[in-house]
């Protein structure tokens, strides 16, 4: 953990010091719509049904809206992961499907004292709801598992503006041309789930084959967890002349729910994504 903190601090402070301060500034009031698509890998370990870790391969799509105001940022959106969890053992191979939805609402306030024209710090909180549907036919009646995790997160954001200056280049060592100034914004988001409500089967998983035609979630229970994981997002945004942006990002998320209990659920995601960000105001 020390190693991780030192690297984050080094990078954040280092980048702040070496950034350029020129005419490229944060807009005071603006609004963006973001659509993104990406590829995710990860793991799941659902102790209710298996001691083994299944590997995730999924597509990730996201739709969100960000509203920037002089004092802070609002962001809300939905993430969807669709794909499969698979497991290879010595003599067998298991493939199962998963659908996941994450709803997110965040407000972060600008830390004016610490920020400058070219970089900004924000802290805030977010409400997040993560629904995981996992269908593994190998588990028979317990094939279907639904887990719903609601988090109240502490959020930290760091945004840095910089310009890649124009430069003279040669095409095929012959034709001279000059590149334009390119504007970039680097974003770093950290989110720590402070308190989580975890709704999932408690001790056994009766699944969808029910003996009770009126009960939908037999054997489910809500548990409360504290500091259940970590989420980070690092992205590089290329800002176009009209204010729209291209974003290239990496997102990492880990969650450990109901630790040390028979219903322990461990999940992790690594996502590489590309976004189109449209400035709407």
């Amino acid at each position: 953990m020390k190693k991780l903190c030192s690297i984050i601090l080094f990078c954040v402070v280092g980048l702040s010091l070496s950034s350029q301060e020129d005419i490229f500034t944060f807009p005071e009031k603006s609004s963006y719509i973001e659509t993104s698509a990406g590829f995710s890998t990860g793991k799941i370990h659902d102790r209710l049904t298996t001691p083994l870790f299944y590997n995730l391969t999924a597509a990730r799509i996201n739709l969100s809206r960000t509203i920037q105001r002089p004092k802070g940022i609002y962001n809300y959106g939905i993430d969807y992961y669709g794909g499969m969890y698979n497991l290879s053992t010595n003599d067998d191979f298991f493939i199962s499907s998963t659908q996941q939805f994450i709803f997110n609402f965040n407000y972060s306030r600008l830390l004016e004292e610490l920020s400058s024209v070219s970089y900004r710090y924000y802290i805030g909180s977010s409400l997040q709801n993560h629904s995981i549907i996992w269908v593994n036919e190998a588990f028979g009646n317990a094939a279907f598992t639904f887990s719903n995790i609601s988090n109240l997160n502490f959020d930290f954001k760091y945004k840095l503006l910089f310009i890649k200056a124009s430069k003279e280049k040669k095409l095929l060592w012959l034709i001279k041309y000059k590149t334009k100034d390119r504007k970039y914004r680097m974003d770093f988001d950290l989110s720590i789930p402070v308190i989580s409500g975890i709704y999932r089967p408690e001790f056994t998983n009766p699944g969808n084959a029910t003996l009770n035609n009126s009960a939908i979630f037999n054997g489910y229970k809500m548990n409360i967890g504290l500091f259940t994981g970590l989420q980070t997002d690092f992205s590089l945004n290329e800002v176009l002349s009209n204010g729209n942006m291209f974003r290239y990002g990496y997102r990492w998320q880990v969650g450990v729910y109901s630790k040390q209990k028979p219903s322990t659920l461990n999940v992790s995601y690594h996502s590489l994504y590309f976004s189109l960000i449209f400035k709407s105001k």
Partner: protein, 340 residues
């Protein structure tokens, strides 16, 4: 500016590497896959989650003492499978299986008791050549058209449709009674139980109560939840219905049978069912083999737990002499009761 570019690059790489390795710090360690751990894992799962250790008076610690010495880290997969399968069969439960790529363990129906039906006799002398097949129901009139005989061999083929039920009820609406034969019906979808029963009731009916294992203690079950069914909207048959059962009537067939205790017009005839009133829950061992065992229990409307079999209202065992003469005395008994 160049300096910036490289720092971002370094940052991306460091970030990815650090966090990729970091998640291992958050997760529990995976259980090592070796024969002893696989044995211990399965034994513990049953010990904590199986719903009927107490009901069946199984001393699971004694079972451990018998089978644990047979497992060591040098044992072959075949031998390990055989030991685990034998241990699971101590539960005497058709809902318990262990599945590996080379074998599936099971507690077969023939362990429970003999068949109380001869399907050749039924086809030749009761269904006859002109019997009809509607969905998965084989049926015909018997006793000069006074009774409808319906053979339902499995609850697992597909979900019963409204069309099928309407057809059956309309065809036999003028009979004096129906015989539904679920002997040797090994079960299937419980939803078919609700569907079929809904054709024979007039009002909302509580058919049984159910509860789920919620903790490692013997009595750690959820509160009993009432299970009710509604009469279907379409045609209904409210005259006498006799359901024929035997030891091969398992799982969903036992659910159907135990539910008839809640009705006035449906009676059971034949032998005690095979039981199987617990819902099997699936899971996986550290070596990837999968298993299932019962994690719920069902309580009949009379307060009894019939996991080992639902007794009939009228016990009638197939007579060997009658069978050789082409007579099914279980059907004959039910028919006589209808015509009384």
């Amino acid at each position: 500016m160049k300096k910036n570019k490289y720092i971002i690059f370094l940052f991306l790489i460091a970030f990815a590497l650090v966090f990729n390795s970091c998640e291992k710090l958050f997760f529990e360690k995976e259980i090592e896959n070796n024969p002893v751990n696989n044995f211990e894992y399965l034994w513990n799962e049953i010990n904590q989650k199986y719903a009927f250790l107490d009901y069946k008076r199984i001393n699971w610690d004694s079972v451990y003492n018998v089978y644990r010495p047979l497992v060591n880290d040098d044992i072959s997969d075949d031998s390990l499978f055989n030991v685990l399968a034998a241990m699971l069969n101590e539960l005497r439960d058709g809902h318990v299986n262990l599945k590996s790529p080379f074998n599936i363990s099971r507690y077969d129906r023939f362990y429970v008791g003999r068949s109380n039906a001869d399907f050749d006799v039924i086809r030749i002398n009761y269904l006859k050549d002109n019997y009809m097949i509607t969905g998965y129901f084989k049926h015909n009139f018997i006793k000069d058209g006074q009774i409808g005989y319906i053979l339902y061999s499995s609850f697992s083929n597909s979900l019963i449709s409204d069309y099928e039920l309407d057809y059956l009820i309309n065809r036999y609406k003028d009979t004096k009674g129906l015989i539904i034969d679920i002997r040797q019906n090994g079960g299937g979808y419980v939803s078919n139980v609700f569907k079929l029963l809904s054709a024979f009731i007039e009002d909302n009916t509580k058919i049984y109560e159910t509860q789920i294992k919620t903790g490692p203690g013997k009595d750690d079950f959820s509160v009993l939840e009432e299970v009710k069914i509604k009469p279907r909207n379409g045609s209904k048959y409210l005259k006498k219905v006799f359901v024929l059962t035997d030891r091969g009537s398992y799982s969903a067939s036992s659910f159907f049978s135990v539910s008839t205790y809640a009705t006035e017009n449906i009676k059971l005839v034949g032998d005690t069912t095979g039981g199987g009133l617990g819902l099997p829950n699936g899971g996986q061992l550290p070596n990837g083999w999968t298993y299932r065992f019962s994690i719920t229990r069902t309580i009949a409307v009379n307060g009894e737990n019939y996991e080992n079999g639902v007794p009939p209202d009228y016990t009638v065992i197939l007579s060997e002499t009658d069978r050789q003469n082409g007579i099914d005395n279980v059907i004959e008994f039910a028919a006589a009761k209808i015509l009384e």
